[in-house]
Amino acid sequence: MRYIEPHAHMVSRTTDDYTKMTLAGCAAVCEPAFWAGFDRSSADGFHDYFCQLTDHEPKRAAKFGLPHFSWLCINPKESEDVKLAEDVIALIPKFLDRPNVLGIGEIGLNKNSRNEMRVLEMHIDLAARHSQLILVHTPHLEDKLKGTRLIIDAIKSHKNIRPERVIIDHVEEHTTKLVLDTGMWAGMTLYPESKCSPPRAVDMLEVYGNERVWMNCACDWGVSDPLAVPKTALEMKKRGHSAEAIDKVIFQNPLKFLGQCPKFKIASR
């Protein structure tokens, strides 16, 4: 089995996780910028974080034979402070040429506030001006449906963003069709305690089809599982999905979306 982990916060994980992912068949890992679990006190903290994502972490992953890619932004949980967001967004362009940067993400909303919306629109504009792919975080739990609708409207209102260059992550049964109907991609995030379980992810594949979808573990410093994608592949196998169908969802699909960025190159296995 081979797979691409398109969303994992590896700066929060141990080297044991890199070993396990590589042994499980991981061919590449992609790391969106996110919340550290605490608010950074200044844009300088983000500068250091962006250096970590674009310089240090790729070297750490390379020790395990794993290509590492990243996405840059200020995450929605720290977007209530618009001035901080402006300062951080101003830093991003100088990092965009780094060899492992795939685009802008994970942007989006958390509590669906006006300031979060404003910062989301700033990120969308940044992506449009620099022709970047976009990876979107949708809010959790009771805020997901409303947030997904607001995010879709914000992206569709920008004439220079092509939907096939956007993936909206953390979809669930009540938001998947909303996203796919726009022509954007949908990401299913596999979590032990919230978001989507492996059986539910396979249910959604069976209901909504396997076009323009990927699966990811979004493992971070919380309760999460860096092997959630291969475990979901096993769930597919238990239900009788073919090896080709599994490969499409966990390898070919992310390769197709991420391959829209010319920097995303991995060895064929």
Partner: protein, 89 residues
């Protein structure tokens, strides 16, 4: 898959989760103090499981969701609580 195959694969897991839910409600019954909007939302969501209704997962998720459409003025917390508390007074 046939229904028999689905039952063979998932019945024990579903049974276990249902009993966990029942045990949670028993725990609530034994506890003192007022309830809040989360339990009310949970009881409403449970109603979606009965009968021949389609898309039960989606309906349960919608039960817990904020139905409003406009952004809120300001985010005062980072966390979600799992159920919509209703419009602020």
């Amino acid at each position: 898959m046939t229904r028999q195959q689905v039952l063979d694969l998932y019945f024990m897991d579903a049974r276990s989760k249902l009993i966990d839910l029942a045990a949670f409600l028993d725990r609530i019954d034994r506890a003192d103090g007022p309830e809040d909007f989360r339990l009310k939302a949970l009881r409403t969501a449970i109603l979606e499981l009965s009968g021949d209704k389609k898309e039960k997962t989606k309906q349960v998720l919608l039960t817990f969701s904020d139905p409003s459409v406009d952004p809120i003025e300001k985010a005062t917390t980072k966390a979600a609580c799992g159920a919509y508390p209703g419009a602020p007074n």
